[in-house]
């Protein structure tokens, strides 16, 4: 843990306004992005964002530096708040199960080709396919590929274990490929 983080946590524990402002400046944008990935409606995202930081400021005493970094801890709270919000207010998303794509049989080579061979059209197809993933799977894919978090960190955020995350990632990757094939056909 860096000295800046230590002083930031000390300030947060004393409920200093300056420390809270610093926290928002450091992690605010990332948290907001994390929320809007799953909650597109801006008003709802703002509400969840506020709830996340209220929770962060209230529970800063529970933060354990040995378990995770401050960023991962904040990310965990944001993930939980977002998932809870979506459970309370489900949005209309056509899920993978509704598409009936189980019939699409894919080989490993096909999956690797879809994601590995740079292709602008495939990128657009992947973007379209991502919208059909359930929120938790979309979050895991983004954490792994975009935020480049380790399996251990993702497991901490989602309150799971690394092996489960690895198998989930593998399954979701294959699922995405199936959705792309279905869109193409």
């Amino acid at each position: 843990m860096t000295e800046t983080e230590v002083s930031l946590i000390e300030g947060l524990l004393k409920q200093k306004r300056s420390a809270q402002q610093q926290m928002l400046d450091c992690y605010g944008r990332d948290v907001f992005a994390q929320i809007t990935r799953l909650i597109p409606a801006i008003e709802d995202a703002e509400e969840v964002y506020q709830d996340v930081f209220v929770k962060v400021f209230r529970n800063i005493g529970k933060y354990d530096a040995e378990k995770s970094s401050l960023r991962t801890w904040v990310s965990r709270i944001a993930y939980n708040e977002t998932i809870s919000f979506l459970r309370k207010k489900p949005t209309a998303v056509i899920s993978y199960e509704d598409l009936g794509i189980d019939a699409y049989a894919l080989t490993d080579a096909e999956v690797e080709e879809t994601f590995g061979q740079p292709n602008a059209e495939t990128v657009q197809l992947i973007r379209a396919a991502l919208k059909h993933l359930p929120p938790d799977e979309r979050a895991i894919i983004t954490m792994f590929y975009y935020e480049e978090m380790s399996l251990k960190e993702i497991a901490y955020v989602t309150e799971s274990i690394p092996t489960t995350i690895a198998s989930k990632l593998s399954r979701t990757r294959r699922k995405l490929c199936k959705i792309i094939k279905m869109i193409q056909s």
């Binding site: 400046d25 801006i42 506020q50 740079p118 992947i126 973007r127 991502l130 590929y145 975009y146 990632l169």
Partner: protein, 209 residues
């Protein structure tokens, strides 16, 4: 799947990473005043909490004060039987009025008869005086030492008994009666009896000599 394999997969899936980067770029921007609104909300939430905290503090102080007052009044009232007598001995009080007015009582007459028959009002109302003497009579047989002798206490001794509204300094100033006068009277009787015994012994001794 191992961590290394997963890292390899991450590097391999270029299209997927590119798609996610484009998705991130398309995300809505965070409103500029969102943090300011959040800080305002936090301040609004903490202000009533502080007010509530101070209210709880005042309530706790009030409860503690009332408990302390209760303790003071409760234990302040409890006095040992010696305390009224001690007060009587140390503080000179105005000449007390005798409650039993029989200057020359018949020797050997039982106490109960004297007490019930010859109570006369002095400064106190008659009812109260009678009540006081009756209570004294009730107290005598319960005395631990020689109850039989107490029953046959001579009336001459009773004539010397003086009943006071034995009160502490505090009760005199506050007007709240906090002492039991009958305890003082019982102690007096006991004291007179002891003196009588001593006198009797001295007379017997002098007669023998």
């Amino acid at each position: 799947m191992k961590e290394e394999d997963m890292n390899h997969l991450r590097q391999q899936d270029k299209n997927l990473r590119e798609a996610l980067q484009q998705e991130e770029a398309a995300l809505p921007q965070m409103p500029a005043d969102l943090n300011a609104r959040l800080m305002q909300r936090i301040e609004e939430q903490t202000a009533p909490m502080a007010k509530q905290k101070s209210l709880w503090l005042y309530a706790a102080i009030a409860v503690a004060a009332s408990i302390a007052l209760l303790i003071v009044f409760h234990f302040g009232k409890e006095q040992t039987p010696q305390e009224p007598l001690m007060a009587q001995k140390t503080i000179k009080q105005p000449t007390p009025q005798p409650t039993v007015a029989n200057p020359e009582p018949i020797e050997g007459e039982p106490l109960q008869k004297v007490a019930t028959a010859e109570v006369q009002p002095s400064q106190k109302p008659a009812k109260k005086q009678r009540k006081m003497v009756m209570k004294l009579v009730e107290l005598i047989p319960t005395s631990e030492a020689e109850p039989t002798e107490m029953k046959t206490l001579p009336a001459s001794v009773i004539a010397q008994v003086k009943a006071y509204d034995q009160q502490s300094d505090l009760s005199r100033t506050t007007g709240i009666d906090d002492a039991d006068p009958f305890v003082a009277m019982a102690a007096q009787v006991d004291d007179i009896r002891q003196r009588g015994k001593r006198l009797e012994e001295e007379i017997l001794q002098s007669m023998q000599n």
